[in-house]
Symmetry: D2
Subunit: 311 residues, 4 copies
C-alpha cells in the first residue's frame, strides 16, 4: 500500500468521502454548463466527472447503463422509437441500440462540449454508437425539446445529472416535466429515470421523492435499485408505465420468474448484457424493506415550485 | 460542507479509500490480539474498528447482523442450539436470541478484551443480550473449541474478522475448519459465514473462494449478498446446509416466495427485524450475473496450507 | 507507512491541507465561544485545536511561546507588570513568569471553559503556572478589560486566536484597539502580538496589514518571523515600542550581536529557553526580502470598520 | 472552500501528510530511474514530482535555488568553473549562470528523460538556460563522472534528490564521495549540497549527519537553513570551503553584515535575486538553537558502508 500520490476526492454525504487514485488527467476544463474532468484511474479505468461528481467509469458503467435501459425496453412490447434525455457518454445510447426493435433514437443532451469530449476521450463507453444511422443527436434542453416536439416515443430514458441547486437538471425531476414527457409517449409507452442514491444513508435525498412524484403522474411505477461501485451506494431508478395495469399485457417488472427476462433478452437483443439478466433483474426489483416503507410514507411531491435538490 | 476536522481513513482497495468524519474517540488501544478503536461518527454513529477496519456501526449493523443470522435460522426447521464464532459486539447474539426456538447459544470469541470493550461501550449494539441466561460466552479460538467440544449445534454462525495475513481468523475460512464445523452440526444443521466483499471490484478477494470451499464440504450451499453502507460495497455471505436436498424438507433460500419468509418471521421470532423480510431475502439470494458466473468458475479451494487472505 | 487510521485535516490555504495522525481525542466539545478539540497525536503530542485550527502542540509550542514572549520582555528594561490577552493554554504565562523581574501578570482570556480544559488536559503546556501567586486570571474580552482598567503595564502580550470573520478576536487587531493598548503601557512599554502566517504563500492574509497598522500607532515596530512546524509555515509576530528611538536606551531587536541577548537571558531569566537565544533571535528579526518589501508596500490600515480576516 | 477535487498527497513524516490541489496532470510516467509527475496546481503552479516527492514548484523554486547557489558562489572569490550534480529542472543552472564570472558549467544529471521532460514542460523553471553556450550537459552518475574527470572546479553545487533506500542518490551523501569531490576543487574552492529537512520534527533524518560528515572532510563547513513552502518545513543546506580559515581571504558566511552580501550581488550578478539578499542571508546562517546543538552533538559519519536514508 502506497498512499502518497494523486487522488480524486468526492463527497458521499457531508461527513463521508470517497477517494480514488488518479493515474492521469486526460482532460480538465469548463464547458458553458459545467466543470468536466476525464480521469484515468487505477480502480475504475477512465472516468467522466462533472462538477466534481463521478458520472460513469469504464469499469462499472455497464452496470448502471444496463440497469437503466434494459428492464424498460424489454418490458415494453417492442420499442421502435426511443428518446434519451442526457446520456452524454453515449453508453445509454449503446444499450438502447442493442435492442433489435429500435428504429430511431432521439438523444437530447444540453452540453455539446461534453458530448464532444466523450466522443473523443471515452471510446470504450460509446463504442462508436454515435455513428449509428438510427441516431438523431441534438443539443438542447430536454424539457424544452419534448415540450415542443410533435414526435412521440415508445420509451423515454432519462440519464440525467443529479438535481443540484443551481444546476442544469433539476427541472427534469418535477411533476410538470413528467406530465410533458408522458404526453409524448405512444400507447403502451414507458418512461425510466435515474433517481439518485437509494442506500440506507441517503435514499431520502431524492429517490423516494422522485418515486412518489412519478406515481402521481403514471398509473404504474416501479422503483428499483442497483449497487454501483463507483457511487459507493445502492442507486435508485424508477420505471413508469403509461398504461393502466388492466389495459396492459406487459407483466410487472416485479414478476419473480427470471426465465421470462432471459427469454426476452435472447429474442430481442443483438448482444447479451454483461451484468443484467433475469436473476439480476429479480434482485433489482426486490427492494429492501426500508425502501419500500420509505417510498410508501414519502409525502414530497416534486414540482417546479418545490423542486428537490441533492447535496 | 466543512472538510477540516477529524476523519477515519479506510482502504477499500489499494487505490480507493473511504473517509468518514469522527466526532469522538470513545476508546483506542491494543488488546493481546488487535488494535481497537471505538469511534463516535457523524455518519454511522458509534463504530467498532479492529486493526483499522470498520467492523460494525450503530447505523447499519442491523443490516449485516440480520442478514447473517435470519435466513439460516429461519430455514432451519427450528434451531434449539446455536454456536457463534466471533461476534464480539453481541449483535449477532442479539439476533440469534430473537428466535423463540433457541434454548442455548455458545458464543466463542477469541478476544475477551474486545468483548469487554463492546459490553461497556456498545450498548446499542448488544442491548444487554450478554446477560440472557441462554448464553454461554467463552474466550478461546473458535476452531480449537469446536474441534474439542463434544457438543453439537443446530446452527453455526461465523461472524469473524476478515482473513488477514498474520491475523487471528484465516484458519476459520479453510476446508479443514469447515469439515470440523460440519461434524458438530446436528442432523438438518446449517452453517453460515460472512465471506468478505462481493462487489464488482473486490468479489475475487475472498468471497468466491470461500463459496467454492464450502461447496466442497457441504451438499447444499447458497452464497448471497447484501449492501452494507459502512463497508461501501456489496458484502458476501454463504449459508451451507448439512443435509442433502433429497433428504431435506427445508425449502431453498432461493425460493422466490416472500410470503414464506414473512410467515416464518411472524411465527418464530420474538421481534420483527428492521431490515430483513421476505422481499429483502429475495433480493439477497438473487445474485447478479457476474457473481453467479464467478462462483461457478472459481477454482480456488481454501485449505490450511493454501489459505486466502484479504488485503 | 500505514495511512489508514484517524487523521486531523486542516486547511493551510483553500488549495492546500495538512493532515496529522490522531492517536486519541482527549476532549471534544463546544464552549460558549468556540469548538474545542484536545487531541493526542503521533507527530505533535497533545494538541489544542480551536474551531478546527491547531493552536499549540506539546512538541513545538515552546517555539511559538518563547518567540512571542522573550524578545519583548528582554528588550524592555526590566518588566514588572505584564498583561496577557488570550493565551488560554497557560504557556505564554509560563514564559512570562520565567522573567525574574515580573511581579504581576494579568491574564485576560475570554473563554473560561477553554482555560479550564487547558488546566485539566494540557499540564505539559502550563506546568502549573496558573497557580503562581503573581497571576491574576480574568475571563473577559481583552479589549473591554483594557479599555476600562486603571492599571498600566510594562509589556502587553497578545496571544490571540486568528482574526476570523464571525470570530471572537478580530477587534483585537485594529488600530483602535492598539491605541487603547498603547494608552495602558507605562513609559518604555512594549506590546507584542502574534500576527498570522508570514510564509511566501500566505503573508498577505494578515501579517503585513497588522504590521502596517501597528506602525501607524507606535513609534517603533519590528515585525519578525519564526517557523512553527505545526502551522507548516513561517509565522509572523510584531513587537512595538511605545517610546521613540531617540528617547529609548533599548537597543533595536535587529541588533545583530547575539551575545547581548544571551547575556540578558543569563541575567534576567530563571530558566534557560529551549529554542530561543541570541542567534535564534538574529534569525527571527532578519526577515527575508519578500517580507521586507511587502511590509514596506502594504497599504491596508486595519480598523474597526475595515477589519482584516483570515480564511 | 471546496474540498472535493483532485489532490496530491505527500508524506512529511509517517504521521503527517500535506495535500495540495491538482489542476491538471501535465505529464505522468516512469523513466529508467524514477516515477515522474509534472502537475499544474492551484497553490504552487507547475510542480516537478519525482517518486511521489515534490522537487520544485513554480511558485517557490526560486527560494530553494537561490539559497543553494548564491551564498557559495558569492563567497568564493569569483568562480569561473562550476560543476552541478543533479539539478534536472535547470533552475540551479539558471542561478549559476547569473554570476558574471562563470565561464563554464558542467551539469551532470543521471536521468536524461527527466531533463528532457523539464526542458519541455518546465520553461518557467529553466528559462532557456540549457541553451547557454557556457553549459556542458552530461547524463551520467555524478560520482562516477567526478571520479574519472581530469577537470577541476571553483564551485561544486549538489542539487540532488534525497537519499532514499534503493534510490539513485544515496552514494552522493557519503564521506567517500565528498573526498572525491574535494579533490576536484581548485584552490579556494567551495562545495555546497542540499542536505534534507532541518525542521524541529525532522532535522535528524539526514541534515545533521550530512553536516557532520562534511565537517570531517572539509576544514570549514557552514550548515544553513531556509523555509521552503512546498516542502512545508525548514530545509537544510551545507556549504563547505576547501581552504583553511587562516589561508582564506573569504569572510565567513556567518558574518552579520548584510551590506557585504548586497555589495557582492550588485558587483557580480547579472540579475538581482528575487529572494536572496544580505538580510535574507543573515537569517539563513543564524540557525536556531536546536540545530546548532544537534549538529554539535551528531555522531553519525555517513559512509558508503553506513549510508543515511530518508523516509
Amino acid at each position: 500500500m502506497d498512499t502518497p500520490g494523486k487522488w480524486h476526492f468526492e463527497l458521499v454525504t457531508n461527513d463521508m468521502m470517497v477517494l480514488y487514485r488518479i493515474k492521469d488527467v486526460v482532460h480538465t476544463g469548463k464547458t458553458s454548463y459545467q466543470d468536466v474532468d476525464i480521469l484515468d484511474t487505477e480502480t475504475f479505468g477512465r472516468c467522466l466527472v462533472l462538477d466534481g461528481k463521478t458520472q460513469s467509469t469504464e469499469v462499472d458503467e455497464h452496470v448502471y447503463h444496463e440497469a437503466l435501459v434494459h428492464p424498460s425496453l424489454l418490458l415494453h412490447g417492442g420499442p421502435g422509437s426511443v428518446f434519451i434525455g442526457g446520456g452524454g457518454e453515449g453508453a445509454t445510447l449503446r444499450e438502447v441500440l442493442a435492442h433489435r426493435s429500435v428504429e430511431r433514437v432521439t438523444m437530447v443532451d444540453l452540453d455539446a462540449e461534453v458530448v464532444d469530449l466523450c466522443r473523443r476521450f471515452l471510446p470504450r463507453h460509446h463504442r462508436g454508437t454515435f455513428d449509428d444511422p438510427r441516431v438523431d443527436l441534438r443539443h438542447a434542453d430536454a424539457r424544452e425539446y419534448l415540450a415542443s416536439t410533435a414526435d412521440t416515443y415508445d420509451v423515454i430514458v432519462l440519464d440525467l445529472v443529479d438535481p443540484l441547486e443551481g444546476g442544469t437538471s433539476y427541472l427534469l425531476y418535477t411533476r410538470e416535466f413528467y406530465e410533458i414527457a408522458k404526453s409524448k409517449l405512444k400507447p403502451g409507452g414507458v418512461l425510466v429515470t435515474q433517481a439518485g442514491p437509494a442506500g440506507l444513508l441517503n435514499y431520502g435525498e431524492c429517490f423516494t421523492a422522485v418515486a412518489r412524484t412519478l406515481s402521481a403522474v403514471f398509473p404504474r411505477t416501479y422503483p428499483y435499485g442497483i449497487y454501483i461501485p463507483a457511487f459507493t451506494t445502492l442507486w435508485g431508478m424508477v420505471t413508469a408505465f403509461a398504461d393502466s395495469p388492466s389495459a396492459s399485457p406487459t407483466p410487472s417488472p416485479q414478476d419473480p420468474d427470471p426465465g421470462h427476462i432471459d427469454r426476452l433478452i435472447g429474442e430481442r437483443m443483438a448482444t447479451e448484457p454483461r451484468y443484467y439478466d433475469g436473476l439480476t433483474h429479480r434482485s433489482m426489483f426486490a427492494l429492501p424493506k426500508y425502501l419500500r416503507r420509505s417510498i410508501a410514507e414519502e409525502q414530497r411531491l416534486v414540482t417546479d415550485r418545490e423542486p428537490v435538490f441533492m447535496i
